[in-house]
Symmetry: C2
Subunit: 431 residues, 2 copies
């Protein structure tokens, strides 16, 4: 049974706080193991990577790289409908992320100083793709396309192939996205190889993509040597719905997060208590037959919630406290409600926009901030594969106008050489 809360109940605050604080994930402490694997890969390179691959994936590859012939053979088996779906998704994701390309700027101010900035792409990026059940072609599109749109010259993908089994759709997604190199490795050893390089894998500058506890720990460890994306927690959805919705649609939207993971969380906020009950019944009905009913059922039972609110103002305020990864607004005027929301990774407006559209083909990225981190962070974007260099150019007149302030502040901070570097130039001008 999910939690039922009523925002007008005197004990609501306590129940809501408990819901917000629910610890949904036990991260096993694998840091020592991961540290040893990274040190080994740094010391022994390919040989270490091959050893770990033999141990964890039960294969001893002759080459770490998956060859273009292997890729071609695998992707040839993909049915036309799936290829078309991937291509449609890729085109839409590409179009969205191209709009995120930032603009350079340069201007000259009243003092004659020319200022600005310039964006450039990361030179080489690595994309981690999990193996097995969590090996999602859609994740390949969502990570690889922004990198290529940003202009990353070299995009290297790693994907473990337990027992040597290749995933044709993952390889096809990589091909469609423009991935340049693919290696049949996974785990902390793959992250280490990307960060530090081996004989057969050149190091990259940034690593993105989801993974298990070992991969997450390895990404944390190599952060600083390379850039990383966020460390994602279990998925979440918040649906705000009025009574004018089909309870079954809303139930399926809630279940589409719950089926990801037993630690996922699905919450409904509704202005109509009877509608909330109808959704709960529809969830139970769908759970009778859903393929992943064990996972979805556990998630819904342990972390699901249905909250009744007196009005949408209350709904918006509670939503901001949850800061959801995914937020669906199934109300009469979703744009008006959206304008009152400050913290959310992605907003899906209106009943014709199920969250699953955003997972695959909407266009926006599906890598989004979890665990209330939408308060301070954003989903993956083209900008994550770029960096900004600031630019400044003084003229003698500009230095005359602003140099004295720098001299004064340098003196205040007891940084004499800072001040003298300005003073020496100003003296020449004044001579």
């Amino acid at each position: 049974m999910p939690v039922f809360l009523d925002a007008t109940d005197p004990e609501f605050e306590q129940g809501f706080t408990t819901l917000l604080g629910a610890k949904r994930e036990d991260s096993p402490d694998v840091d020592d193991t991961v540290a040893a694997i990274i040190a080994d890969v740094r010391a022994r390179g390919d040989a270490a990577v091959i050893d770990y691959t033999a141990r964890f994936d039960r294969i001893t590859p002759e080459t770490l790289a998956i060859s273009s012939e292997e890729i071609a053979a695998a992707v040839a088996a993909v049915p036309a409908a799936e290829r078309a779906a991937l291509e449609q998704a890729a085109a839409r994701i590409r179009a969205y992320h191209e709009r995120q390309l930032p603009e350079d700027a340069e201007w000259t101010d009243a003092e004659g100083a020319t200022l600005g900035w310039r964006w450039t792409a990361v030179s080489a990026a690595g994309l981690y793709v999990p193996g097995g059940l969590a090996s999602y072609p859609s994740s390949v599109l969502m990570n690889a396309i922004p990198a290529k749109v940003a202009g990353v010259g070299r995009l290297a993908m790693v994907v473990p192939t337990p027992d040597g089994v290749l995933n044709p759709l993952v390889l096809l997604a990589a091909q469609i996205s423009g991935v340049d190199e693919i290696y049949r490795i996974g785990g902390a050893q793959a992250v280490a190889a990307l960060a530090y390089g081996t004989e057969s894998i050149a190091p990259v500058d940034k690593i993105t993509g989801p993974g298990n506890a070992y991969v997450a720990a390895a990404k944390r460890r190599v952060f600083g040597k390379v850039g990383i994306d966020m460390i994602a927690g279990p998925s979440e959805i918040l649906v705000i719905a009025d009574a004018e919705n089909d309870p079954d649609w809303i139930a399926l939207d809630l279940l589409s997060q719950a089926e990801h993971d037993e630690s996922a969380q699905s919450i409904l906020i509704t202005t109509d208590a009877a509608f909330g009950k109808a959704v709960a019944q529809a969830v139970d009905k769908r759970l009778e037959t859903l393929q992943r009913r064990a996972i979805a059922g556990a998630s819904w039972r342990d972390f699901g919630a249905i909250i009744t609110v007196p009005d949408l103002t209350t709904a918006a305020a509670l939503s901001d406290r949850i800061a959801p990864e995914h937020l669906e607004l199934c109300v009469a005027d979703p744009d008006a409600l959206s304008a009152r929301i400050t913290h959310a990774g992605a907003i899906f407006l209106g009943q014709w926009t199920p969250e699953a559209i955003g997972d695959y083909v909407g266009g926006p990225n599906h890598v989004l901030p979890t665990a209330r981190s939408a308060r301070f962070s954003s989903g993956l974007s083209t900008l994550d594969f770029m960096k900004r260099t600031t630019l400044a150019r003084m003229t003698p007149a500009a230095l005359r106008a602003i140099g004295p302030a720098a001299e004064t502040l340098a003196q205040s901070e007891s940084l004499e050489a800072h001040g003298l570097s300005v003073t020496a130039r100003l003296r020449t001008l004044n001579d």
Copy 2:
């Protein structure tokens, strides 16, 4: 003696690799101590913070907050010239960072899907300011102004006051920048208080600002609960200069990084070996009298380098391998050389733009990526205090056009409820 290298020397690559790999900082392992402090602050709140403040700063404050009366009394003592310099710097930094405010976007595509994104400010941010010698008013401006330009509603600053001594310029910089609350605390206990909150300090969503090893370890630990900025390493400058420069100016620019810290690094790349020698002599001469000659001398001796190159093409290539925090281009056509640089935190164009201008009054931020991280990261900006929510709205027609691809991909990924959430809606449309 700094290292002298010649890019045409057969052994250059070895020397340059050694220079790149030089370990300049020993980070003491204070993680266990910091973990205990954070746990204590979470458990005991203000009482724990007050205990640590008594132990480390030798004061037992009645209130953690520095009152507006205390601030007013302290800043009244600031001389007019220093106030004017801070105000000029603040105005220029504000003007630069206002240009970084990102634009929202919304468009409707050919399928009828309305897509876009919206930027919002972080609600509450915390700014760490070190105590003692490293307590720089310019750092307050560089962290606080972007936050306020972004629209951060509540900006809380922490600054330790060892033995109860307030720093008037730091307080004035905070006042000019619009800081909302100031607390007389520092160290890991201050970071914990900002991240988790105490009775007298409400928690924030993001923490920025420099600090010692304890502060850095605490920021790493609270990352995830709140956002943090980068963990900065020792400062660096690379100057690329031709022979048409005053050796003393270049020497002062190199020393203005070296004087920060014995671990700082200053490198000159020049097309003229004789000019390189002249700069080295000028550095030595300045080191005879410089106030911070002990620090600057140690940095220059241990990590300084002068590299002679045959041409500016080689200089640009080496610069990208260094990926410097600060890059000064003192050459005839700095814009042309700048266009060939990919990795740098900030570029200073031409001989009238000493790096110190950028530290104080240029306008761009002085919080910049160190330790070669300009390969994948950027300096602090207005964007660091904002986050982006993606938006998607389907119409029935749009869902008909792209929904089937989502159904296909959901099926491929064995995520049935994802597919059904689309199928249920399409069925209604097709009925």
